[in-house]
Amino acid sequence: MTTTTRLMAATAVLALAAPAFADTSERRIALSNNYAGNSWRQAMLESWTKVTGQAVTDGVVAAADAFTTAENQATEQAAQIQNMILEGYDAIVLNAASPTALNGAVREACDAGIVVVSFDGIVTEPCAYRIAVDFKEMGRKQVEYLSGRMPEGGNLLEIRGLAGVFVDDEISAGIHAGVEQFPQFSIAGSVHGDWAQDVAQRAVAGILPSLPDDIVGVVTQGGDGYGAAQAFAAAGRTMPVIIMGNRQDELQWWKEQRDANGYETMSVSIAPGVSTLAFWVAQQVLDGQQVPQDLIVPFLEINQDGLDAALETTPAGGVANVEYTLDDAKAVIAKGGSAN
């Protein structure tokens, strides 16, 4: 062992021993985003601007610039990431156009010593951090909630998303796993609502006549709960427990029902503010903290007590959102670490 390697080893040990020592106030973080064309993405960018703007003002980091590609194409985003390397950013937070086609550019960034944190649209390159959504759990949780409300079980109606999309398969697999776990429930029918209220309303109205009278719950994927409620109301059926998906119209309807007849349900989805979670994770990595490569996004759950507060902060036509704090990120990191 030469003196230099010994010195390096000593520094490495020191760095491990004193993880909170690194200062990130001179560090610059960039957001590489592939698409901004819907309300979820708009909310995501707004949350980023709000939280990172504050972090820059507070001197936590030196800069946190957001970049969105114009055409939602992987090659374009790869070029964007390479430009970020050139601009000397210390970390890149990434919502990727493709899980694989950016791997080359991500590798270049890692080789240049840049921390890459992908979220929502994650990348498979091993050197990047991934903050993924556990869609299966999102489906399973709904059945679990229903089993708490109705221990005796019953018939369920499943509203699926857009056929052939990975997210639809995952959530549905989770719901079916939930039914297996709580066998007192059975799925009496399932329709595709395409994550849109009007499509869901038509689909549910179409299947209702063929369903048994005792549908006790509707398991959903988000963006379809309000449509399902309209269809049940129009058919003059008893209103089942419909799981909501954090959309403003769904929350509004839930509140009206609660005020009128004490209707109870829950609502679950992913908050667009997950971009801010990714920001804090990147900051923590720059700070020298031990962070597992794979983390799971917490769901944003709204229960009966939180309904009014959630509805107040959700813009009409929007999605309930939450911005994450440094402490939230630390909690997610700690949880991800123990799960591995």
Partner: protein, 307 residues
């Protein structure tokens, strides 16, 4: 001779101006690694642009090159990686289909724009069939070539210079290239001179197919894996690159060196817009403005010459 010089002067000048602006804004780019990062994604675009140029040279236009390159990328990342022999056969079949399309377009006097638009859906469908979910892996030898670090100049620049030289020799200097440009200039006189235009058009398309394959391979080498939609932008980028590089839609007037420079200019324009922090809402428009400026400059130069 003077005409060719002028035709090339403008693309070179626009590239130099943009490069100067990028260096001024981001001095870090003025290094071996910097230049490589700036230009390595231009290599597959330049290859696709040469493919497009070969088709434009015979007075046609290829609207399927983007999906074709995506398809080649998917073959490279799956079949060529797992079973090289099958991969080579499939890629060769792709080139064969391109040549057959050229012959078909000539024989039936079909509009190339319609045939290639139709084919773009075929290539896109095949790419999705091969790779329903993004993935695959780059064959090691391609990655080694694309990520090589030759002395003096970064790989991206070396590759572009080699490509410009090779296509210049092929198109401008060889007897075959002269004939092909003749097809674009005046197909009837080429036919009267005793050549088979069917065969020549098939040759032009077949060559385009070869450059498309190379583009897909280069892209996978850089990205390390593929996606069925990986190169959709290339259709428009390649057409813009040819025109930016001094080529014209009719008359067999194309410049291979110009086309490579055009591809580099377009890539650089994208980086330039990122560096000046232009909002993405304006970026496509701004890229269009850069294109229009260069074309307007070309028109002015030509008008002065004829005046």
């Amino acid at each position: 001779m003077k005409g060719i010089d002028l035709r090339l002067a403008l693309p070179v000048l626009s590239l130099a101006v943009l490069l100067g602006a990028v260096f001024w804004m981001q001095p870090r780019a003025m290094s071996y690694t910097g230049l490589n990062l700036l230009f390595n994604l231009a290599v597959p675009i330049a290859l696709a642009t040469i493919a497009q140029m070969l088709v434009i040279m015979v007075d046609d236009i290829d609207l399927s090159i983007g999906t074709y390159v995506s398809f080649c990328a998917c073959v490279t990342a799956t079949l060529l990686h797992d079973t090289p022999v099958v991969g080579i056969l499939v890629l060769a079949a792709g080139v064969g289909v391109y040549a057959a399309l050229g012959a078909l377009i000539e024989l039936q006097k079909l509009p190339a724009i319609v045939v290639t638009l139709g084919m773009s859906f075929v290539w896109g469908g095949l790419a999705v069939l091969l790779l329903p979910a993004p993935g695959g892996a780059s064959p090691d030898w391609i990655t080694t070539i694309m990520k090589a670090r030759p002395p003096l100049m970064p790989m991206a620049i070396v590759a572009c210079i080699l490509l410009a030289l090779a296509s210049h020799l092929l198109v401008t200097r060889s007897a075959m290239g002269t004939l092909l440009r003749g097809v674009g200039g005046n197909a009837r006189s080429v036919a009267r001179a005793g050549w088979s235009v069917v065969r020549l058009r098939a040759l032009a398309y077949g060559l385009a197919g070869v450059f498309g394959v190379l583009s897909g391979m280069a892209l996978v080498g850089l990205a390390t894996s593929a996606d069925a939609n990986i190169a959709l932008r290339y259709t428009l980028l390649s057409i813009a690159g040819v025109i930016l590089g001094g080529g014209e839609f009719t008359g067999g007037r194309v410049s291979p060196v110009g086309a490579v420079i055009g591809a580099l200019t377009l890539t650089l324009a994208g980086s330039f817009l990122t560096f000046i922090r232009l909002s993405p809402d304006w970026q496509i428009g701004a890229q269009g403005v850069i294109l229009i400026l260069v074309l307007a400059a070309r028109l002015l130069v030509r008008r002065r010459r004829t005046a």
